[in-house]
């Protein structure tokens, strides 16, 4: 009999802690699949954030350093400078990477730091209970924008990927979603290209993964997916935002 589907070796065999309909589990599974395919589990070091993404260290069978809110890119830089031959990635939510940790991620991109950042954008602070994030879209209701985000008060949604693409040091930047099988396939390719970019020493790579947050959006999982497709994707268009010459193909 031929095995057509199995748990990636790098994904630890235990239930995820995430809410039903959250995409963290799927995103982490894809990272695990890519680590297996590239056969880099032995030399990969993950850096954790603060927020729902924090549980990643329980899920992936690689070495991890857990750090402070927003500072994962700096911690990853310290590790990469200490151990230049290792594959180092950060895994961060939007509160972490696009609010408090903006300076660290921008400077990683500017320097062309050879790390990969995986950014789960669910347009809200998840773990603290659904407050407004810089990525919250206009009119989106959160616990700190109960009347919806208003531009004259709280400005505009933060398009981190586009901003980092401007930096000369960034080599590969993509935005993906996990709402359909073909999008999941593309997301995995993007994650793979990010690791390959790092492996080739081409510079900084980032994959922004749009994810629903049914609990904080107060929607059933399926409706959350539909809401994301209808409202979030138009603000945060999918695709490869920057591919520097020489970035290896995922296939």
């Amino acid at each position: 009999m031929q095995t057509v589907f199995e748990r990636p070796k790098t994904l630890i065999n235990q239930p995820f802690r995430y809410c039903p309909g959250c995409n963290h589990g799927l995103a982490q599974r894809l990272i695990a699949e890519v680590i297996d395919e590239l056969d880099i589990a032995d030399k990969t070091i993950g850096v954790g954030p603060v927020g729902c993404s924090v549980y990643i260290y329980e899920c992936l069978d690689v070495d991890f350093v857990m750090g402070a809110h927003g500072r994962a890119p700096a911690t990853a830089t310290g590790i990469k400078r200490a151990l230049p031959g290792r594959m180092v990635f950060s895994y961060q939510g939007d509160g972490d990477i696009a609010a408090i940790g903006t300076a660290e991620i921008v400077h990683c991109a500017v320097r062309g730091e050879c790390i990969s950042a995986f950014f789960i954008n669910n347009a809200t602070f998840g773990m603290t209970g659904g407050q407004m994030a810089p990525t919250t879209i206009l009119d989106q209701r959160t616990t700190t924008s109960p009347r919806g985000r208003k531009q004259d008060e709280a400005g505009f949604p933060f398009k981190l990927g586009e901003m980092l693409a401007v930096a000369e040091g960034s080599a590969y930047i993509a935005r993906v979603a996990l709402t359909k099988p073909q999008l999941i396939k593309k997301a995995k390719q993007a994650i793979k290209r990010a690791f390959l970019t790092q492996q080739a020493g081409l510079g900084f790579s980032l994959v922004e993964i749009l994810s629903p947050c049914p609990t904080n959006w107060a929607l059933p999982p399926l409706e959350a997916v539909q809401w994301l497709e209808k409202n979030i994707i138009p603000i945060y268009p999918l695709g490869e935002i920057k591919v520097k010459e020489g970035v290896p193909d995922a296939r």
Binding site: Y57, D63, V65, R71, G78, I79, K80
Partner: protein, 350 residues
């Protein structure tokens, strides 16, 4: 070994290299920037890493990452920059990561100024960041001691898996004095088998800075406080200077202790018997010896370049047994021998 005339900041930097510092992460701020400048030149010569971060915050988390990877790591700053690093220092203590942090402190609060000060004493010894933790704090008094305590700082950091602060000031950083580089042979340290280096065949490892279960976190805090207890038993260092049977015990550290040595000598010429207790480790604090000498002298005079910080620890040590007087200059002012002696004479009525 040849004596060379060297600036305090340069001397710390050179000592760090000799102590086996693998990576340094800095950010410019007066009066300690020469440490960065020196290391930017010398670290690459030694095949080591110098890196100027985008902020004090980033630099302490780069330290955190590199320390987690099992390397010897240092950062340095002054006043406001050290404030920015405090969150990271709390994380280092929580993750039990060794690191050396140099503070060539300056006048505060706020931007303050760039002149020498000891106003970061509380911040250093009471744990300037959040949570229950301690940092080993060394208080050098000469450029030579900056060198010797830098060697020691790297050793203690690794020995206890704890951050160590070298608490200097602008005067120590900027002044030149003759130094000899003579690295002692420290006892061997255990291998850093906890380091995060990639699995490479072994089981995976991780470094955490949290425990969401309160029972677990309390257990962890008990564990690190047992470690601090051991530090308090084994690592106290101090110097006693001056006369036997003094009429008054002076207490001061760092730059102030230098001035107090001059005071002790000048007082002797006037027929006043003084002794100085100079804490070298500010945490762990030499409470027992202060208590003993204070009782013998019957009177304590604590001098600092701040509004009165270490004096609280001195009072705790003395525990009300004898009077504790205080003289402080702040804002970057340095107490003079003349003024200090005048105050002592007033107290003694001589």
């Amino acid at each position: 070994m040849k004596k060379i005339l060297m600036k305090g900041n340069d001397a710390v930097a050179e000592a760090a290299i000799q102590a086996g510092c693998d990576l340094y992460f800095g950010y410019p701020i007066t009066p300690q920037t020469e440490i960065s400048e020196y290391l930017s030149l010398r670290m690459p010569e030694e095949g080591k890493v110098f890196f100027q971060a985008e902020s004090e915050i980033a630099s302490i988390y780069m330290v955190y990452g590199a320390a987690a990877a099992g390397k010897r790591v240092m950062t340095s700053s002054s006043g406001p920059g050290i404030s920015l690093k405090q969150e990271g220092i709390s994380y280092l203590a929580s993750a039990e990561l060794p690191a050396v942090i140099v503070n060539m402190s300056r006048g505060g609060p706020g931007l303050g100024n760039i002149q020498p000060s000891q106003s970061d004493y509380f911040q250093a010894v009471k744990g300037g960041g959040h949570g229950d933790y301690k940092v080993i704090v060394l208080g050098p008094s000469t450029v030579q001691e900056l060198v010797d305590l830098t060697y020691l700082a790297f050793y203690l950091a690794d020995k206890y898996r704890n951050p160590v602060i070298i608490l200097g000031d602008g005067m120590l950083g900027q002044m030149m004095e003759p130094v000899v580089f003579n690295k002692p042979d420290f006892p061997p340290l255990p291998a850093k088998d906890w380091a995060i280096t990639g699995k490479d065949g072994r089981e995976r490892q991780y470094i955490l800075c949290f425990d969401l279960d309160p029972r677990g976190l309390e257990q962890f805090n008990n564990k690190i406080f047992k470690k601090y207890q051991k530090i308090e038993q084994e690592e106290i260092r101090y110097e006693v200077f001056g006369e036997d049977k003094p009429e008054m015990l002076l207490v001061g550290y760092g730059t102030v202790a230098r001035i107090l040595k001059s005071v002790v000598r000048e007082a002797k010429d006037l027929g006043i018997r003084l002794a100085l207790l100079r804490p070298i480790t500010l945490y762990p604090f030499p409470s027992a010896i202060i208590q003993k000498l204070a009782q013998q002298a019957g009177r304590v005079f604590d001098v600092e370049m701040n509004m009165g910080q270490m004096v609280e620890d001195v009072k705790l040590a003395v525990n009300g047994a004898v009077p504790v007087h205080f003289y402080g200059r702040s804002g970057g002012m340095i107490p003079s021998v003349e003024d200090t002696l005048k105050r002592i004479r007033d107290i003694l009525g001589k």
